[in-house]
Symmetry: C2
């Protein structure tokens, strides 16, 4: 991803391995400060995952893979290191998958650093493929809407929902992106707007509640990411996604989900089977550590919502753009 710094433009990934150390953009400081953390011990990496210096399931997976490489280089007990890393974020599927993948590679005697880099590269290559398949959906002059951050920061590089935008921009297309701010944690305002503007893609932030107004008035296309896709095509994504899909349906605005095949979970037959994480109400009642709400008032804070397959025009995957009823061809990971 391109990043604008005081010393000019640089091109970096959200996390990478260099000079024997894991390097990681500290996402907690974005968009105001770009600070790269450097770690030479897998326990530091585990702390960074736990404390959310890195976020986004694919990026967390890659970070854990790099952490396993450090453990191997340092001669640590690999089973213990695996436990240290897996215990950081108990619900992230990619995290477990990445650690197990590294254990297998190391048991086969493969090079630790090269293996971890391969793992991260696989993710990025899938994102590039998503970008190539999705870019034709964006025309010159298109007005696109996205939600939350399904960008390079969440996937090491390129992103999922942002991949078609990056590719279309690289192809010279000019278009505009509505970025819904994505309360409560504001990943749209803080991360997606930062990524898009660094790329030179024209965009504006809107309040989440303004989405419906703009979908009716001017949006041509919506692209969001997904946290999990059920067998029938129902999918979970950041809270606020579902209502955009309903609005898009009413005004015949195409609605696309960009996600790698690994997001597809055929063990869940439908959206109702997806468990929605309920997070602390303080994410709603407080902003940047300041209480906004009256004392003593509770907040309900579901972190995700489920959008039914019937509202999805297509899933943009690394294997092509699939209709909901074509998903079963993927079989699963």
């Amino acid at each position: 991803m391109k990043v604008l710094t005081d010393d000019g433009n640089i091109d970096i990934e959200a996390v990478w391995f260099e000079d024997g150390m894991v390097h990681m953009v500290d996402q907690r400081l974005l968009p105001h400060n770009l600070e790269v953390l450097e770690m030479d011990d897998h326990l530091q990496v585990a702390d960074a995952i736990r404390e959310m210096a890195v976020r986004g399931a694919p990026a967390i997976g890659a970070t854990a893979a790099y952490g396993m490489a450090l453990a191997s280089l340092n001669g640590a007990n690999l089973d213990e290191a695996a436990m240290d890393l897996k215990s950081t974020r108990p619900t992230a599927f990619d995290l477990f998958h990445a650690v197990d993948w590294m254990i297998e590679a190391l048991l086969k005697g493969e090079d630790a650093v090269r293996s971890s880099r391969s793992y991260a590269s696989m993710i990025v290559e899938k994102c590039r493929a998503i970008g190539r398949y999705g870019a034709p959906l964006i025309k010159n002059g298109s007005k696109v809407m996205t939600h939350c951050n399904a960008g390079a920061l969440a996937t090491v590089d390129v992103g999922t929902a942002l991949a078609p935008m990056r590719e279309a921009h690289d192809q010279g297309k000019e278009f505009f992106v509505f970025v819904s701010e994505t309360r409560p944690r504001m990943q749209g305002m803080m991360l997606t707007a930062w990524e898009l503007s660094n790329e030179g893609i024209d965009c504006a932030i809107i309040s989440d509640g303004a989405s419906g107004h703009f979908i009716r008035e001017s949006v041509d296309l919506i692209i969001v990411g997904a946290d999990r896709i059920a067998a029938n095509g129902d999918f979970a994504n950041k809270i606020g996604t579902f209502e955009k899909a309903v609005l898009a349906d009413r005004f015949s605005v195409p609605f696309y989900v960009a996600a790698p095949v690994s997001t597809y979970d055929p063990s869940l037959s439908q959206g109702d089977d997806i468990i929605i994480e309920q997070r602390d109400g303080e994410e709603v009642t407080h902003i940047m550590g300041n209480r906004i709400a009256p004392i003593g008032i509770k907040a309900l804070n579901p972190s995700f919502d489920v959008t039914p397959a019937e509202l999805v025009d297509g899933f943009i995957t690394e294997l092509g753009v699939l209709k909901p009823d074509e998903l079963h061809r993927l079989g699963g990971v």
Copy 2:
């Protein structure tokens, strides 16, 4: 409205006249501090309106009426005082109406303070009638949703959208209210949640983007206010209202608009004729004075959206609950 203070419960209005002075809850300090401003000069009142110590069109109107009473008591030039007050907020219809109403009363030789109190009482009486007509819509166990603040703070007392909730609560009904926070200015989180909890009405704050999820899952009834209603029943209200109406329609959740007849403007044939105020993007990019968005990124900030009449189940007015196609009977103010 009930207010909980360190010294126990008190019952006050948002603005009132007492001991020769205008008293006004400083809404800029809510919900964290309850401070009552006291003013003995109409220019102080004008400043308070301009600087938004008071907000909500009906409450602004009543405040201006009280300001005219002060001008009269102090022997000020009434035409100049009228200009001082009218120049504070150029778009609030109630403000002009209230000042002209007071001028007329004073020209007839009526008592200044009594006239201004009559003006404020008229507003509150309309709100009470809205409450009586709307309360039957709320059942024991109902889950109600509202947006922004159409409460006592906006209307001197009782409120419009909150009036049926206050009345139903006084009737002993138990129900629950989802309060959408209402970015960018968060009047839902800061004012509506404060009013409801002071009354002892069970409620929880949600992110605006969670509205669709809860409308599908559990909301029985939505009641919002209105800033202006066109002849055909299309209406403008705080941004975020329209998308709730679309979601409610999809899931057959009744959607009601609570507003006095004075909100009805038959000079506008339809919603497209309503001009939407575009406010400064900094309301989106900054929160409590802190920049959240990356530097250099713009925000689009329409303050209102327009909801078509076809999505409204009824208008709760002081004359009863009307269907959109019955509005023309009102004729206009």
